[in-house]
């Protein structure tokens, strides 16, 4: 009984594996700069998947429209840069504002109906925003997308496709991912985070403890939208283009896939799933460039049918 405090705090401490995970990423980027582009893509996808984990894993709210915020974040950075604000950090921070606002305004649409309703509503919002970006081509470049350049980070570290650009981009993405995962980690272990678990697990009882599920869902959806927006801004800045395909359905579907592959609800699942997804794509598509998604599909079916733990035991890779 004297251990109640230790029990409540058991997930607060940073584990050795957790610290090793981050150090390995830094070391990997520095040691293999030739692969930095791929790592950068995986880190950004991981952040995107983390944004989905906040609503799906933590709160139990499904979404097939997370790409809406990814796209808006990307265009925010691109439009800002073309308006003369080239600072990459500014672009990433600025992406928070419109995405959080759109998240806040559309969150009430998620409060009624079933999971199917929410899937359709989130998909619909992403479709609408994508077409809005298509129509407002004066602002967004329409089907051509928006090319832009960002200034070196802190005036020193060039971000882009040449020289040290990919390495710097990957380190930048890693730093942003780490910062936001740190925030998500604090959040998940706070009273607010526990109340999201309560809303996910039993909304009726959560209400009977005085928790208004609606406001908690609106809040976390707003935060999740901002996370996705930051991921979009990062992708646009490190590839120097924002294009309409960022809004597309396959982005929303893939990010859910990554989260399911890595495991929803413990924050690292999205990052790991994104890594696996992009690694499989890279390895398999070298062999069969057109059919690599077959293996992702097989993996997904196996994961959801047999469960992660049983598969892990099968290959003796206990987490």
């Amino acid at each position: 009984m004297t251990d109640v405090l230790a029990h409540l705090r058991r997930r607060e401490r940073w584990g050795v594996a957790e610290i090793a995970f981050w150090l390995a990423l830094v070391a990997g980027i520095v040691a293999f700069p030739a692969r930095a582009g791929l790592v950068n893509e995986a880190l950004i996808a991981g952040l995107f998947a983390l944004s989905l984990d906040l609503i799906l894993g933590l709160t139990g709210i499904v979404s097939l429209g997370q790409a809406a915020f990814f796209g808006v974040g990307a265009y925010t950075a691109a439009i800002l840069a073309n308006a003369g604000y080239h600072d990459p950090l500014l672009g990433v921070l600025a992406a928070i504002v419109p995405t959080a606002l759109i998240g806040f305004l559309t969150a009430p649409l998620l409060l009624r109906g079933s999971d199917l309703t929410r899937l359709m509503v989130t998909m619909g919002v992403a479709l609408m925003l994508g077409e809005l970006a298509n129509r407002e081509d004066g602002l967004t470049g329409g089907a051509d997308g928006l090319n832009f350049t960002v200034a070196p980070l802190f005036g020193r570290f060039a971000i882009g496709s040449f020289g040290e650009g990919p390495r710097n981009a990957a380190l930048f993405s890693l730093a942003v991912l780490f910062a936001l995962l740190f925030v998500a980690r604090r959040l998940a272990r706070s009273p607010f985070g526990i109340s999201l678990t309560a809303v996910r697990e039993n909304r009726l009882r959560a209400g009977a403890l005085g928790i208004s599920a609606a406001w908690r869902i609106v809040a976390i959806y707003t935060i999740s939208a901002a996370f996705a927006g930051v991921a979009g801004a990062l992708l646009a800045e490190t590839t120097q283009i924002a294009s309409l395909d960022l809004f597309e359905f396959h982005r929303s579907a893939n990010v859910m896939l990554m989260l399911i592959i890595g495991g929803a609800g413990y924050l690292y699942g999205g990052v790991i799933g994104a890594g696996v997804f992009i690694l499989v794509r890279d390895v398999v598509s070298a062999e069969t460039p057109e059919y690599w998604e077959f293996w992702i599909g097989l993996m997904l079916v196996a994961l959801v049918l047999f469960g992660r733990e049983r598969l892990a035991n099968l290959v003796r890779l206990r987490r």
Partner: protein, 250 residues
Amino acid sequence: MTAPALEARGLSRRFGGLVATDNVSFSLQPGARQALIGPNGAGKTTLINLLTGVLKPTQGAVWLAGRDVTHVSASQRVRRGLARTFQINQLFPDLSPAESLGLAISEREGRGWDFWRAAGKREIVAEIEDLLTRFNLSEVYDQPTRALPYGKQRLLEIALALACRPRALLLDEPAAGVPEEERHDILAALAQLPADVAILLIEHDMDLVFSFAARISVLVAGRLLCEGTPEEIAADPRVRAVYLGEDAHG
């Protein structure tokens, strides 16, 4: 004289042509031990939902500690001191009893929106430990709730409601489905509920009702048939006719 902890004033609720609750009035004084009994379909669940704010009454009002809360949301009523338990367990399967109680306390203390500081605060540990001890949950405090024996889950039901520090507490069949050998745990838990909390016990089990309640209300077809001490209720021929029958308390 202090205001009643909980008061129903002429509560009615219609569903189409059906009158589920028909002009029900009663009041619970602070510290009351009252039971609500009635045959199946008498409208007990509807009445609970009206009191807690899950349903809005067609007519009438609910007062909580001297204030009209008829138009106050269910979660706000909890914050103003009305807690309940559920007939069918409504718990958080992945959280442990300690975490569940910590959550309830954090919400009561208004920390539910704190997204930065850790949930496991030293200040609330003493209260969590106290609740765990009182509800015989000390041995399983760190187990996920889904892994607890049914009787322990029933105890956590009550402990969670009490962690809200209610003025009035609605217990919806707390002993429902509890096996005989774990029953005394529930009875012991009910016996040592804080004396200042007004309690309305909704129960089928007559032994439990008559051992716990100082007053009993009988609900039949949405209406309060009568109210009185256990002796009066047991002796009331109308109650015997509609509800108790020969076998229940003969």
